[in-house]
C-alpha cells in the first residue's frame, strides 16, 4: 500500500492542464529575463530551469564541467543544428553578438536536443549513474504497472538512440519488459535522451539494487524450499521452547505472504482454460523464468482424493 501511495503523489489529477502550465511558465521566464535580467530570477541556470519543467522530472542536472569538456560532446556538432548558439544557451554564456530574436525558438529547440543528447551520455558515466540511483531509490520514475510485479520500481529507457523517433518508455527489471508511462506529460519526452543502454548498465553497476526475484536473477523456489526445510529442522532441533517455535511460525507466514513475482492464470468459474482451446494460455513463456513455481497455485493444490480409496 505504501508504494501505491507514493505513486499517487506523482499523479496530478490536472495533468492535462500541465501543457498550458508549461507554456505559461516559459512565457513568464522569457518576460522575466527581458525585463529585469539583473534580478534574482536570472540566477537560475538554464539547466536547472529545464529540469524543473513539468514532465521533465526524469532528467537529472548535468554538471557544467561535463558539458564544457569538448571530448564529451564529440560528434554532436553534426547532429544538432545551430550547435554553438545552443551550447551557449545551455551554459548561459552571453554572446557579444546576440543572435536575432527571430532565431530564438530555433535555438531553444536545438538546445533541448543538445541537452538531451548530452544527458544520454552523462547518465552512463559513474557520476550520472549514482545521481540516477538516488532518484531510483525514491521510486521517482514510478512503479511497474504489471500486477504480479508487486510495485517494482522502474527506470526510463529509450527504444532507439536516434533522437526524434520514439518517446520514453519504462523498463521493469523484475519482468524485464517495457511499458508506456501512464502520465500524459511524459509522452512528449524523447526516449533517445535516456538511450537504450542506461537501465541495463545501471543494474550491472549496482547489482544490489536488482529487486528480489528479477529476470536477471530469479529465485529458484524449489531450492529455497529445501533450504527453508533444512533451516526449520535445525531450528526445531535446537529450540524446544514453544514460544520460540511460535515466533518461527510467524516468520514463515510473513515469508509466504511476501510474494515478489507471479504469473497470471486465466480461469473461468475457477477452472483453468485448457491450453489447446483457442482462448487457452499461449503466452505463459513470456513471464516464465527458471525455477518458477506459482505460489498462488500451490496454495490451491488439493490432495488427490482418489488414491486413498
Amino acid at each position: 500500500m505504501s508504494n501505491e501511495n507514493i505513486q499517487y503523489q506523482e499523479d496530478d489529477p490536472n495533468f492535462q492542464n500541465l501543457n498550458d502550465y508549461q507554456e505559461e511558465k516559459e512565457e513568464e521566464y522569457v518576460s522575466n529575463e527581458s525585463f529585469d535580467s539583473s534580478t534574482s530570477t536570472s540566477v537560475i541556470s538554464w539547466i536547472t530551469w529545464y529540469c524543473s519543467l513539468p514532465g521533465h522530472e526524469f532528467f537529472i542536472e548535468v554538471p557544467e564541467e561535463f558539458i564544457e569538456d569538448e571530448f564529451n560532446l564529440y560528434g554532436l556538432r553534426a547532429i544538432v543544428p545551430m550547435y554553438e548558439e545552443a551550447l551557449d544557451m545551455i551554459l548561459d554564456l552571453d554572446d557579444e553578438n546576440p543572435p536575432p530574436s527571430s532565431d530564438l525558438p530555433k535555438i531553444e529547440r536545438s538546445a533541448e536536443l543538445l541537452y538531451g543528447l548530452i544527458h544520454q551520455r552523462f547518465i552512463l558515466t559513474k557520476l550520472g549513474l549514482s545521481l540516477m540511483k538516488l532518484k531510483h531509490k525514491e521510486a521517482r520514475f514510478g512503479v511497474c504497472p504489471r500486477v504480479y510485479c508487486y510495485y517494482s520500481p522502474v527506470l526510463p529507457c529509450g527504444m532507439t538512440d536516434i533522437p526524434g523517433k520514439v518517446n520514453v518508455k519504462l523498463y521493469c527489471p523484475r519482468c524485464g519488459d517495457l511499458y508506456t508511462p501512464k502520465l500524459k506529460k511524459y509522452k512528449n519526452i524523447d526516449g533517445a535522451y535516456f538511450g537504450t543502454t542506461f537501465p541495463h548498465l545501471f543494474f550491472l553497476t549496482f547489482p544490489e539494487l536488482l529487486p528480489k526475484n528479477s529476470l536477471a536473477n530469479p529465485v529458484d523456489y524449489e531450492l529455497e524450499e529445501k533450504n527453508e526445510l533444512q533451516a526449520n529442522e535445525e531450528n526445531n532441533n535446537e529450540n524446544e521452547n514453544e514460544n520460540e517455535n511460535e515466533n518461527i511460525n510467524e516468520e514463515d507466514k510473513e515469508k509466504n505472504e511476501e510474494r515478489t513475482y507471479d504469473i497470471y492464470t486465466p480461469k473461468i468459474f475457477g477452472f483453468k482454460i485448457h491450453e489447446t482451446s483457442q482462448s487457452g494460455q499461449r503466452m505463459k513463456w513470456l513471464r516464465w523464468r527458471e525455477g518458477y513455481k506459482s505460489k498462488i497455485e500451490e496454495i490451491k493444490t488439493l490432495p488427490d482424493v482418489y488414491t486413498d480409496d
Binding site: E4, Y8, D11, P13, P145, R146, V147, Y148, M159, K169, Y171, G176, D177, L178, Y179, T180, K182, L183, T196, T197, P199, H200, L201, L204, L215, A216, N217, P218, Y264, P266, K267, I268, F269, G270, I273, E275, T276, S277, Q278, S279, G280, Q281, R282, M283, K284, W285, L286, R287, W288, R289, E290
Partner: protein, 221 residues
C-alpha cells in the same frame, strides 16, 4: 442524488451512476434483468437494506427517508447491489454482447506494454468476493493483468466484474483473440545482449516450444 417517483422510462439513478468519472467501465444492465427476481438469488443476504437499494436502482423508492445516515447507507448498498448484479449480467449472452461493443471501442483502455501495441484490454477482478481488491485490466495479447492508468479505476471494486468475465468473453467471441507472437523485448548494452537475461530467454523459448508441441499434438476437430 436524484430519486424519481416511479417513472419507469427514464432511469435517473443508473444514468447518474454511469456518468460518474471512472464508471465508464460499467455497462447498462437491462431493467428486465434487474426486475427478474431469479437473477438476484442470494444477493438479499449479501447486501444490507436490499429492498431499499433495489428500489433506488429501479427509481421506485416511494418513501422519503429522512434519516441522513440511513440514506447514505442505502446509497452505498445500491452501488454494491448494482455492482454484483453487473458481475452476473456481463457473463450472460446479452451482457457479453454489450461489453464486446465497449471492448471494440476501447472504453476499457489500452495495454501499457509497449510490444502489445495499444491492444484494447478488458476489466477483470482478482476475486469474486466484494470489497477485497480493485479492478485490474486484462490484456488478451500478452495474457497478463495490469493496474489501470486512470486513477479513478482504483476505487472500483474488482468483484463488480468478476474473475471469469474476460476469459468467457474471448471464448464466446474468439474472433477478438489477437494474434500472439513470439516477440519480446531484448535488453541490450551498446548493442550487446546481457548474459543472465539471454539465458532466461533461451529457457523461455524451450517452454514455448514444449507448449506448442503439446498443442499441435491434439488433432483438430
Amino acid at each position: 442524488m436524484e430519486v424519481s417517483s416511479g417513472s419507469d422510462y427514464t432511469r435517473y439513478w443508473l444514468e447518474y451512476f454511469l456518468s460518474i468519472q471512472g464508471h465508464e467501465l460499467f455497462c447498462e444492465v437491462e431493467e428486465s434483468y434487474i426486475l427478474d427476481r431469479f437473477n438476484l438469488t442470494g444477493l438479499n443476504t449479501e447486501v444490507e437494506h436490499f429492498h431499499y437499494a433495489l428500489q433506488l436502482i429501479t427509481d421506485s423508492l416511494e418513501e422519503d427517508i429522512e434519516d441522513a445516515n440511513l440514506r447514505h447507507e442505502i446509497e452505498k448498498s445500491a452501488v454494491k447491489l448494482y455492482g454484483l448484479i453487473h458481475a452476473r449480467y456481463i457473463i450472460t449472452n446479452r451482457g457479453l454482447a454489450r461489453m464486446v461493443e465497449k471492448f471494440r471501442r476501447g472504453d476499457f483502455g489500452k495495454c501499457p506494454r509497449v510490444l502489445c501495441q495499444r491492444q484494447h484490454v478488458l476489466p477483470v477482478g482478482l476475486t469474486d468476493v466484494p470489497f477485497q481488491k480493485s479492478v485490474r485490466l486484462y490484456c488478451p495479447r500478452c495474457e497478463d493483468i495490469y493496474f489501470s492508468s486512470n486513477k479513478k479505476h482504483n476505487c472500483i471494486d474488482g468483484a463488480f466484474f468478476g474473475t471469469t468475465f474476460p476469459h468467457l468473453l474471448l471464448q464466446v467471441y474468439p474472433q477478438f483473440i489477437p494474434i500472439r507472437t513470439q516477440e519480446r523485448y531484448v535488453p541490450k548494452i551498446f548493442g550487446f545482449k546481457i548474459h543472465a537475461i539471454a539465458e532466461q530467454h533461451r529457457k523461455q523459448d524451450e517452454v514455448y516450444k514444449e507448449n506448442m508441441k503439446r498443442i499441435e499434438a491434439v488433432p483438430e476437430e
